[in-house]
């Protein structure tokens, strides 16, 4: 975490130096990072697919892998933070779809500039996140129950409302409405240095940087670790446990909003049944990235590495052109191996401490 360690002075191993200072050398400090194991796993997966799949190393292929990782990574960041804070969110997958549906249907039904829908969607999505956090801290039920409830309710609302308002189970196209082009540039494909980049890649980079800064450099970051490590102890030393958790759930909602707008402005029509099951993928990415399911330990960078491993594996299998009947098996085996390697490296790192 952010304990101020005395700076290491590599290369100046004078006999007079206290041996305790040597323990904080750069390599040792790296060994203690939660994402170390997953970085080793990511390198292993990368090398593996570079060898078995000819087209894996092409720039366009790497771009596709990066995109696949980013759509997952954007959500994995706040999910990791929430997990460090000791909770998880099963409603995150469908919340993405809800957010996209709200923007689309609000803009369409009101014949409003699409940015109005985007703004309304942000408010409603944050409210759903706050609802999760508020219910959790108020009722003291486990997050599993609360967010499972939200998950089911949102799944039903997505279908029910879409059918009620649009008359079909998908939304109408909003591609011909005002503001669509600019919203598309922000959420779907951003023009950057003469090329177009998938916006989720940029959002992902910003969110990882922001979350890392929050975790390591701010008081709120310390609260997250404290709340996840032991809520009662944290409360005893004056950490606002409830508020921290509500904020963490709102963080997930914010990322769901970003992902939802990406979904909407990439395809301009949203299917209301989508998103179910994706919440598990986010949690998997955070866990592979070194977050403990029990809370109190993990990092935002780790979640990014976890998302990257997932992206590389799922697309690497396609590049390797393996028999698709076995696709899910390969995916599961690769993920298990990556996580085992992750755990093994972490154990070794802790042993050498």
């Amino acid at each position: 975490m952010s304990q101020a360690a005395p700076p290491a002075v590599p290369g100046s191993a004078e006999p007079a130096q206290d041996e305790r200072l040597l323990r904080t050398s750069l390599t040792r400090r790296l060994m203690g990072r939660p994402e170390l194991g997953s970085v080793v796993g990511a390198v292993a997966v990368f090398v593996f697919f570079s060898i078995v799949a000819d087209s894996f190393l092409q720039p366009s292929s790497l771009n596709t892998v990066l995109y696949a990782a980013s759509t997952l990574g954007v959500m994995a960041v706040p999910v990791a933070l929430l997990m460090i804070g000791g909770e998880f969110d099963l409603s995150a997958g469908v919340m993405v779809t809800s957010s996209a549906l709200i923007s689309s249907m609000f803009s369409y039904q009101m014949t409003a500039n699409v940015w109005v829908g985007v703004g309304v969607s942000l408010l409603v999505t944050l409210a759903i996140g706050a609802f999760n956090g508020f219910m959790l801290t108020r009722t003291k039920l486990p997050s599993f129950i609360i967010t499972l409830g939200t998950f089911l309710m949102l799944t039903g609302l997505n279908l029910g409302f879409t059918k009620l308002i649009s008359g079909t189970v998908s939304t109408k196209s909003i591609a011909d409405m005002e503001g669509f082009a600019s919203a598309r540039a922000v959420f779907a494909e951003t023009p950057l240095l003469g090329a177009t980049v998938k916006s989720t890649i940029l959002w992902w980079a910003v969110l990882v940087a922001l979350a890392t800064w929050i975790l390591l450099r701010t008081r709120f970051g310390n609260w997250i670790f404290a709340v996840g490590g032991g809520a009662d102890a944290a409360r005893a030393v004056g950490v606002p446990v409830k508020r921290t958790k509500i904020f963490l759930y709102m963080g997930v909602a914010f990322a769901a909003w970003v992902s939802g707008q990406h979904l909407l402005f990439s395809f301009d029509v949203v299917q209301s049944g989508e998103g179910v099951g994706n919440e598990l993928t986010y949690i998997i990415a955070a866990v592979i990235g070194g977050c403990l399911i029990t809370g109190g330990y993990g990092s935002a960078i780790g979640s990014a590495v976890g998302a990257f491993i997932f992206g590389m594996t799922s697309k690497g299998i396609v590049y390797a052109e393996w028999n698709p009947d076995w696709f899910k098996f390969f995916l599961g085996a690769m993920l298990l191996l990556a996580t085992l390697l992750n755990a093994w490296v972490r154990k070794r790192a802790e042993a050498t401490r």
């Binding site: 292929s61 596709t64 995109y67 696949a68 309304v120 029509v269």
Partner: protein, 339 residues
């Protein structure tokens, strides 16, 4: 504490700013509900019964998952026929074979006057269909199960043979001079999907490869197709098995820099538009509206006049190959959700 409170205030300010900006931007002068309302100002009044037969209750139980566009259209057809035929129409669905059978069972105990079921998982449905016919409830099967329908005691089967539909796609691809096709399955383990791709393989002169994608995650569908097109540059045709996935394939093709033709099963407004603009090659339609509509209407005819259509053979609603020249006419119907 203080920091968190500033956080709340900052958040409020951001939200206020977002709303302020969007409110200033105001309305859209293009598209949206207003445009749609203007388009259908002359919509006639639907939903009135055209017959004076007693108000029978018909129930439909399908293997649809939640929020499936295809089954939405089937239901719409069934409902409109029910309104016309003075039928009380009930609908339930489950993608689990066992639960689907239980739903049928509950309608049998409810003593409905007729049943419409799908046989996507025939073995799970065999017993309840037999129970229904034993209880004197006429059954019509739709969509899937043409092979089992008669054997299980159904009056008739209305639908498209999945293999035949796949074969039609294979023929069309051969005619278009394609060499290597990609068949994109969005539900692993769906028998109908496998049959479609197998059908394509059977009649297509070139090579066919299957690709499984996660249908609940559209960006992932796109990235997977993209990856496949990058890995194999010789693919010159992509066939998606559902209309919503055709658009993801179009985008994947663009990013991968491939010049493959995108073709699809089923229709929706976007597919119709894509066909018109030439971004899609063709679509093969099995007319889901007709499957729902005909099932209700034929059951009404049976109750009223003991009429049976098909003579023991399935009544086919497809495959109908739709290309650029038909798309303009169908677009209006796809937009109102009946094609």
């Amino acid at each position: 504490m203080a920091r968190a409170r500033t956080g709340v205030r900052a958040l409020g300010a951001v939200l206020a700013a977002v709303l302020g900006v969007t409110a200033l931007a105001g309305c859209s002068s293009t598209g949206g509900k207003r445009a749609e309302d203007a388009r259908r100002a002359a919509e006639n009044a639907r939903g009135k019964a055209a017959v004076t037969t007693p108000r029978w209750t018909f129930a439909m139980v399908t293997h649809s998952g939640d929020g499936d566009t295809f089954w939405d259209i089937v239901q719409k057809g069934a409902k409109e026929a029910a309104a016309k035929d003075n039928i009380n129409f009930l609908y339930a669905h489950s993608d689990e074979g066992q639960q689907q059978a239980q739903l049928v069972d509950s309608y049998i105990s409810k003593k409905v006057d007729a049943l419409i079921v799908t046989l996507a998982k025939p073995d799970a449905m065999k017993a309840v269909v037999a129970k229904a016919t034993a209880a004197g409830i006429p059954v019509i099967t739709v969509n899937s199960g043409s092979a089992q329908s008669e054997e299980y005691g159904a009056l008739t089967h209305i639908g498209q043979d999945e293999s035949v539909a796949g074969e039609a796609v294979g023929e069309e691809l051969t005619e278009r001079g394609r060499k290597k096709a990609l068949c994109v399955l969005h539900e692993q383990g769906n028998v109908g999907h496998e049959q479609r791709c197998a059908g394509v393989k059977k009649t297509f002169g070139g090579q066919v490869q299957n690709l499984y994608v996660d249908g609940t995650n559209m960006p992932d569908v796109q990235a997977s197709i993209e990856a496949k097109l990058q890995a194999d540059r010789s693919v010159d045709a992509v066939v998606t098995l559902g209309a919503p996935f055709a658009d993801a394939a179009v985008q994947a093709k663009k990013t991968a820099g491939s010049d493959a033709e995108i073709d699809t099963f089923d229709l929706n407004a976007k597919v119709a538009a894509g066909l018109e603009q030439g971004t899609l090659g063709f679509a093969v339609d099995q007319q889901p509206y007709l499957q729902g509509y005909e099932a209700v209407d034929l059951l009404w005819l049976y109750k009223y006049n003991a009429d049976v259509l098909g003579g023991g053979r399935p009544v086919l609603t497809g495959p109908q190959i739709i290309t650029e020249k038909d798309a303009a006419q169908l677009r209006e119907y796809t937009e109102r959700g009946t094609r």
